[in-house]
């Protein structure tokens, strides 16, 4: 009797274990993955389906311009809920016509991440997507677009260009675009749009970066209609029709040759000038390099995989790669304790070109691609360092790389090379940075006394973006306007 009971017990336990194992395996099995969100449901209206497949990654599912890729894009994607559009043929402040939207979608907005959807969206799908985008803003139901009259163009001529130059001075275009159109001697450099995003005035010598394309008519329309939501106003009261056309002709004449049209001598001259400029202005060059390579990994993400702008360059993305260890992207801001504030230039350079950490230990050649940064010219590496010095401090403590002990590493290598096992790599944020917004930006690692807070706030930078409150029991931070 007793023996039977034991058998029964083991049998049940075994069956239960097998059952559980089955479900556990099922949950882990790759075939059980949820379907790709890119694939739209059949029942969805066409416009919504296209929007979710093609637009939502940048413009966000709710049209607020807060998609997954949005925080790192410069210029930022459009917020459709405001009904404000830059590229229009309508009066300042008015909503755009359907044709304006169609043009922006078909040709894209040069100088931004908005591509030319022309080859993929046309006919009914283009109409459907425009209707869906318009549905985000109530303005399209209430208002009618007020189209401007562009019936009297002034053809380009030497006198028209010369007149345009005078208009350029009269309207003080140089304060944002510089006297040369490149913005070199511009006085207004800290431009922001209505959403508080940093924007740059167009470089008028590079017509292929003009968002609304670059014919005289397009450029005239930008003066005539203004660019809603940006500091670029409509000049309709301060200049006559003719003056604006002359100005458009002048801006067209400022264009320089793009590199794809240059011959060898011109390219050589162009690039040596660009290098000299970069050497003279390393912070700007460094900003360009950091924005086009470092930000993606060295930023704090929210749990749904979106960069939290407050933690840009503050590190905190974990790469868990078996059997090599766990690596967290470092805080690149100039915070003294958790960032690069106390590192010397030589230490930063050694870390990013030779993979040697501050304590002298070595980094693996991945996930931090120092082997690639080692291929950069010296000037560029110095420019990156110069820029990182100017990044305002953000406190975010990240752990140093966790490396396995030699025996588990050996076993992992054995599994990889002999048993041919493949393990998943995990990339995830250290914590949900979007929830850190106001109470943990100052002290992500918990308790921290006021003395320490004062230390961090008295950084070498004259205007730190983030300072700690005096109350030692709350780690709140407030933003200081420079």
């Amino acid at each position: 009797m007793k023996r039977w009971f034991v058998y029964f017990l083991f049998g049940t336990a075994g069956a239960a274990a097998a059952f559980l194992l089955y479900f556990w395996m099922g949950a882990l099995s790759p075939l059980n993955g949820s379907p790709n969100p890119n694939q739209s449901e059949q029942s969805m209206p066409l416009g919504k389906a296209i929007y979710q497949a093609k637009c939502a990654t940048c413009h966000g599912a709710s049209g607020k311009g807060d998609g997954k890729a949005a925080p790192l894009l410069n210029p930022a994607p459009r917020d459709f809920t405001s009904g404000m559009y830059k590229i229009r043929t309508t009066e300042s402040g008015s909503i755009p016509t359907d044709d304006d939207l169609a043009r922006s979608i078909t040709y894209g907005l040069y100088g931004s991440a908005m591509p030319d959807w022309g080859p993929f969206l046309h006919g009914d799908s283009l109409k459907a997507i425009i209707a869906y985008i318009k549905s985000f803003s109530p303005r399209f139901e209430k208002e009618k677009p007020r189209v401007v009259d562009i019936s009297s163009p002034v053809p380009s001529s030497a006198s028209s260009v010369a007149n345009g130059k005078r208009v350029y001075a009269k309207l003080q275009c140089a304060s944002c675009h510089g006297t040369d159109g490149k913005g070199t001697d511009a006085t207004a450099t800290d431009l922001i749009d209505d959403w508080g995003n940093e924007i740059t005035a167009a470089n008028l010598t590079e017509p292929w970066t003009f968002k609304g394309r670059s014919t005289a008519r397009d450029i005239y329309l930008r003066f005539r209609t203004g660019m809603n939501g940006t500091p670029m106003p409509s000049y309709v009261g301060s200049a006559s029709e003719k003056e604006m056309w002359n100005l458009a002709n002048y801006v067209v004449s400022l264009a320089r040759k793009p590199v794809w049209a240059m011959n060898a001598e011109e390219l050589k001259a162009f690039y040596s000038a660009a290098d000299a400029e970069a050497k003279k202005n390393p912070v700007e060059r460094g900003k360009y390099l950091v924005e086009s390579s470092c930000e993606g990994c060295h930023s704090g993400y929210s749990a749904d995989g979106k960069v939290v702008p407050e933690f840009k360059l503050a590190g905190g993305l974990v790469f868990d790669i078996y059997p090599f260890g766990k690596f967290t992207s470092f805080n690149l801001t100039s915070d003294k304790e958790t960032g690069l504030g106390n590192w010397t230039d030589a230490e930063i350079k050694r870390a990013i070109t030779q993979g040697i950490q501050r304590d002298g230990s070595r980094l693996l050649p991945f996930p931090m691609p120092w082997t690639s940064i080692a291929q950069m010219p010296d000037d560029d590496v110095n420019a990156i360092i110069a820029y990182l010095r100017t990044v305002p401090p953000i406190r975010n403590e990240v752990p140093l790389p966790e490396k396995p002990n030699i025996f588990s590493y050996m076993w992992g290598k054995f599994e990889m090379l002999i048993l041919k096992k493949q393990y998943p790599g995990y990339i995830y944020p250290l914590k949900d940075f979007s929830k850190m917004e106001h109470d943990a930006k100052g002290g992500t690692d918990g308790g921290q006394d006021s003395e320490e807070s004062q230390n961090t706030s008295s950084g070498s930078l004259s205007t730190p973006l983030v300072v700690h409150n005096e109350n030692p029991f709350r780690n709140d931070v407030k933003e200081v306007q420079p």
Binding site: P30, N36, N38, K268, A374
Partner: protein, 204 residues
Amino acid sequence: MKKILKWTAIVAGCLVVVGFLAFLYFIPPLTMIPQTAFTEPLAQALDAPLKSIKDPAEKILAERGKMIVGRSACNDCHTPQGSQGPNYDEFLAGGGMKDGFKLYGSVVSRNLTPDKETGMGTRTDAEIMRVLRSGVFHDGRLMEPVYMPWFDFSNMTDEDRYAVVVYLRHLKPVWHKIPDYSPHSDFEKLSETAGDYAEHQSVH
């Protein structure tokens, strides 16, 4: 009997030590390899396509492109992996990174060489620049930002992106077929990213 046990222990101990030393010799931990062993082969592989360029203007552009391809770490994902690190004979021929995502499907890094059948040979300049600028493939499909950091490359200037295209056109063409994108995660290896991980955590 005791003697046999003793000798077995000694032999086993020796084997462990020898095995450990052999491991260190054949597959040393990556931090024991000098840095130049990583950077120099990469520098050579990056330089190789420049040598055969005749046209002086293209050469200058390709040199710029080389600088950008080098610093952007394209090689880290787009060069196939041999048993001892990247296989530079097939520089940028794709397949170095295979990932299955629960949310985003399976991706394999593409073949960037100008091979007509499996690489970028038939892509136009505009198509390649569109992928770098906006993450939109030649067929209109949008790239999830977790695959390739196009949102970083989007902040480059068009002229720099053009230089990258000129450089890629001069790579050695390698026939290396890469499986098409699949919306399901059909690899054994199932990576997780922030979005996936959030789901993963809410399940457990």
